[in-house]
């Protein structure tokens, strides 16, 4: 059964189309994340679903009942959609218990249900407090209890964890989602945080420019994103130029198989996605791709290492200098390293969060792309002693890759 169904939804504000044909199906009892960057239309979509904005075209149904078809719409209070806003939006003049009792009929407000709801979210002992006496995480859980108390057909979580500290976020998220799964509530989680979406949801729908670009399971979305931009959005991506011969793709890093089920482009130039954890660093060897480490971002449990593949014979001077000979060459090498490190840090690409910031060797490398330009690649190393900048390594790619026909057609 479908908990939420959105079809062909259009919505525009004067002069600005915001939603351009949204299609989205959420199965009952599952958790779907709507993932989108700022300005992608998340908030508007949410407001149309909850009924605070009217759809221009298209339809929204909740549990099989049409609530908005572009002409008639059901009032927000009759939709039975529990909304948990970004900061909880608890009523500041009511106690925690009165907040949870708010949606109940007058005679039920003093009954057991508010307390049961509070027990469910583990806050039974805070019933008589006021919202401002709670921590951010507790406020979120009260907001959830309040939404659940109204026995909604659907719960909408609007960026519910983004205002919490990083440390608190994971805990509150786990607690909240555990309650939602335990109660079997159909849930839509709106977020801009790809880690949150991938780790929490059964399905992830990516919203961009008012359209759903891809709706898939987290694994499928990460492995086979619909386009290079999306690949960078849902994680750190190495995008390489390559050629597809109908069986395998060839890049600067070798020949790779492609993911099963991927729509295979016709033979020719392709853009290839290689995730940082697919690349293995090994000591320099004979039949692998030689590279030099340019920067290491150490996180303890793992490290993100920037490497620059060395085209054979392209910069012999550098190689010698870094190997240890002091003098002019060495100085050059150091300066070069510094510059590279700076660029990596400023670009923000290593965080993996910036849209498009991680597009490397794709379209801007000119003929030869990675091979000629010596673009950096990001490699995730799950060792506690990652290689230091300046060290020489070899690169091998594990597993199959995703590929799209090259955008510029060369």
């Amino acid at each position: 059964m479908t908990g939420l169904s959105v079809e062909g939804l259009h919505k525009s504000y004067p002069g600005t189309p915001v939603l351009r044909g949204i299609g989205l199906q959420v199965k009952s009892g599952t958790l779907t994340a709507i993932l989108g960057a700022s300005g992608s239309g998340k908030t508007t979509l949410l407001r149309v679903i909850t009924g605070f904005e009217a759809a221009d075209r298209g339809s929204v149904s909740v549990n099989g009942t049409v609530v908005d078809d572009g002409r008639h719409r059901v009032r927000p209070e009759q939709r039975h959609i529990g909304l948990v806003p970004q900061d909880g939006a608890l009523f500041p003049h009511l106690t925690v218990r009165a907040n949870v009792a708010f949606p109940l009929a007058r005679r039920d407000r003093h009954g057991r249900r508010p307390d049961e709801m509070l027990e469910l979210v583990g806050l039974g002992d805070l019933a008589s407090r006021y919202p401002h006496q709670l921590s951010g995480g507790q406020q979120q859980r009260v907001a959830l209890a309040r939404a659940l108390a109204s026995q909604p057909s659907l719960i909408l979580l609007d960026e519910p964890f983004s205002s919490l500290d990083a440390g608190l976020r994971a805990t509150v998220r786990t607690d909240v989602l555990a309650v939602l799964r335990a109660t079997g509530t159909t849930t839509v989680l709106v977020t801009h945080d790809q880690d949150e979406a991938l780790s929490a949801a059964d399905h992830v729908a990516v919203l961009r420019d008012g359209r759903i670009i891809q709706a898939d399971t987290p694994r499928q979305l990460y492995r086979c994103p619909a386009d290079p931009q999306l690949a960078s959005f849902v994680g750190t991506a190495n995008l390489l130029e390559g050629t597809w011969d109908g069986k395998r793709v060839t890049t600067a890093l070798g020949r790779h198989g492609i993911h099963a089920g991927l729509q295979v482009p016709k033979p020719g130039h392709v853009t290839v996605l290689i995730r940082p954890e697919q690349i293995c660093l090994t000591p320099p060897g004979s039949d692998t791709v030689p590279a030099r480490v340019t920067a290491t971002h150490y996180y303890g449990h793992d490290a993100l290492v920037a490497v620059r593949p060395d085209a054979p014979g392209s910069r012999p001077g550098n190689g010698k200098a870094v190997k240890g000979a002091p003098g002019n060459g060495g100085l050059d090498g150091a300066v070069l390293d510094g510059a590279v490190l700076d660029r990596g840090a400023l670009g923000g690409g290593l965080d993996g969060g910036a849209l498009g910031g991680a597009v490397l060797g794709c379209g801007n490398g000119g003929p030869g792309g990675v091979q000629g330009g010596g673009e950096e690649l990001r490699v995730r190393v799950s060792r506690s002693d990652p290689p230091e900048p300046g060290e020489f390594v070899s690169l091998t790619v594990r597993g199959s890759v995703a590929a799209w026909a090259a955008a510029d057609g060369n």
Partner: protein, 555 residues
């Protein structure tokens, strides 16, 4: 009179509005394209209709003023204005305004800095004492000083009395701005090599400049509208001259010509502040959601002179008026006039001011709601209209309504209703400002949340918004009540024959130099004026859960 035409709150956001925590989205929060008004762009028609009605009511006096003037004929008006008298009045007004504004700004800035940013001993006491002059009408301050010594008169006397009476209008917004100004910025400037005074001038001053300008505007408007104090101090301004022309000379033409000029001056001041104030726009605090750190400067050896300064200031502005009134109260009655019953005058005052408070609040509510929830052309227009009535001195407004009553609604002439309507129009901006500030406390988001939890719109308004706005409603009514109690000029013009309020009774005796008899009424005025003040304080400091903005800081 203590003109409350311009609200101190207009530039000093009330305590509640300083809570951007819940309004400012957190890191990485969505800033999707959003409709202008959170509850949908279009306002429901009853709201629009009531706002339009209020706007028309507010515009009526202006319309009548213009009608009155055109009836007089421009040739006559220009001849009346081209008199030597006009030049004298203009010079008087400009001299007075410059002197009082400068003095009040200096005193207020110094006092606010010391209270908010130094380790001044007894800050909590000083904070209350420096605001007390707001509760003492300026005509009472003028009366006490002139009863003490005839030397206090003319320009010097006017500057002294008005500075002492009006500096809190600058103090209030500046102190609020200083509380908000992040002292980290000051410390950064010091760290970048600026000296103490350079850092103040280049970093702190720009942060509080809008508040300072706003306060100066309020002082200017109050000066333009003031009548009682200047009459007592024998200092001639436009307002006193208009009053004389109207009541003694029955010269409506001259009164309306001068009124036009006075309104023009007020609007010039409003426009000037708007332009100068906007130059600093876009300099709001950068990281307002952060908890502000306040660095207190250690006074050291300067403690003694600073405390002495505060003692002198409060002694002159509160001590002298209060002790003088009390002194006169202890003297035997000294009047030949027939006695005016104190209780009757007090009841009249409370009834008129109370009705005005209710009327103004009821009228301002839809306008505030529209402005906060459905910003747009109508909301902006109604805000401007509110501003316009801020630029109408009470006397001019009263004359316009007298003209309106005589020509268009004669049954209203000389009735309490007309007086109440005048008060309500006059103090409409006060009600609007505090209602708006409190509606911001009840964001539409909360109402929407209530609706998604199954509440009908009316129930959401009743169960969520009204409880949250209640303090603002009380504050709004209290402010209007306070202002109406101490109003003198319009009351003198519009009071029904034979009726008296405390202010008119006071005025009658004072005019007769019966200081002792007048003091009885002055004391009750001050006492009544203090009650809403305390009520305001109470509402703003009220118990748990009132401030949704605090919640995040504690997480």
């Amino acid at each position: 009179m203590q003109s409350m035409n311009g609200s101190p709150l207009a530039t000093a956001p009330s305590p509640g509005t300083l809570a951007p925590g819940t309004l400012a989205p957190g890191e990485g929060a969505p800033d999707d394209v959003r409709p202008a008004g959170p509850l949908g762009r279009r306002a429901p028609w009853p709201l629009t209709a009531s706002v339009a009605l209020v706007c028309v009511a507010l515009l009526l006096p202006v319309a009548f003023l213009i009608w009155q003037a055109t009836g007089t004929g421009w040739p006559l008006i220009s001849r009346l204005l081209m008199r030597r008298l006009t030049l004298t009045l203009l010079i008087n007004t400009i001299e007075l305004t410059l002197a009082v504004t400068t003095c009040a700004a200096t005193v207020a800035l110094g006092a606010a800095w010391c209270v908010e940013r130094t380790n001044l001993p007894g800050r909590r006491v000083w904070r209350v004492l420096v605001l007390l002059p707001l509760a003492i009408p300026d005509f009472v301050v003028g009366y006490t000083w002139s009863s003490l010594t005839p030397a206090v008169h003319g320009l010097t006397g006017a500057v002294l009395v008005m500075t002492l009476g009006l500096y809190p209008l600058v103090y209030l917004p500046v102190a609020a701005a200083l509380r908000r100004a992040d002292s980290t910025l000051y410390e950064v400037a010091r760290g970048l090599g600026s000296g103490r005074f350079t850092a103040f001038r280049r970093v702190v001053l720009p942060q509080i400049r809008p508040a300072l300008l706003g306060g100066c505007l309020l002082v200017t408007l109050a000066l333009l509208a003031e009548f009682g104090a200047f009459e007592i101090l024998r200092f001639q301004t436009f307002t006193t001259e208009i009053f004389t022309e109207f009541t003694l000379g029955f010269n409506a033409a001259a009164a309306s010509a001068l009124s036009l000029l006075l309104v023009l001056l007020s609007l010039l001041a409003l426009g000037g502040e708007h332009i100068v104030g906007r130059r600093g726009a876009g300099r709001g605090p950068v990281a307002s959601a952060r908890v502000l750190r306040v660095h207190r400067y250690r006074l050291g050896w300067a403690t003694v002179p600073v405390v002495g300064g505060f003692a002198v200031l409060t002694g002159l502005s509160v001590g002298v008026p209060v002790s003088t009134v009390v002194y006169w109260r202890l003297q035997a009655p000294d009047t030949t006039l027939p006695p005016i019953p104190l209780a009757g005058a007090a009841v009249n005052t409370v009834v008129y001011a109370g009705s005005a408070a209710i009327l103004a609040t009821v009228a301002a509510f839809p306008v505030a709601l529209l402005f906060v929830r459905h910003p747009g052309r109508l909301a902006t227009a109604s805000e401007r209209i509110g501003y316009l009535s801020q630029g109408l001195p009470g006397l001019v407004l009263a004359l316009a309504l007298v003209f309106f009553a005589i020509h268009a609604a004669y049954p209203l002439y000389q009735t309490p209703e007309l007086l109440v309507i005048t008060y309500a129009i006059m103090f409409f901006p006060l009600a609007l400002v505090s209602l708006r500030a409190s509606l911001v406390q009840a964001p539409a988001r909360l109402e929407e949340t209530a609706r998604s939890l199954g509440c009908r719109p009316a129930a959401a308004l009743r169960r969520v918004t009204l409880p949250l706005v209640a303090p603002g409603i009380a504050a709004s009514a209290a402010l209007v009540f306070l202002a109406a109690v101490v109003e003198l000029t319009a009351t003198l013009v519009l009071i029904p024959t034979g009726a008296n309020t405390l202010a008119t009774a006071f005025w009658a005796y004072q005019q007769n130099s019966s200081y002792a008899s007048a003091s009885r009424y002055a004391i009750v005025i001050v006492a009544i004026a203090v009650i809403p003040g305390c009520l305001l304080q109470h509402w703003f400091d009220r118990g748990p859960g009132r401030d949704p903005g605090k919640s995040r800081e504690q997480s």
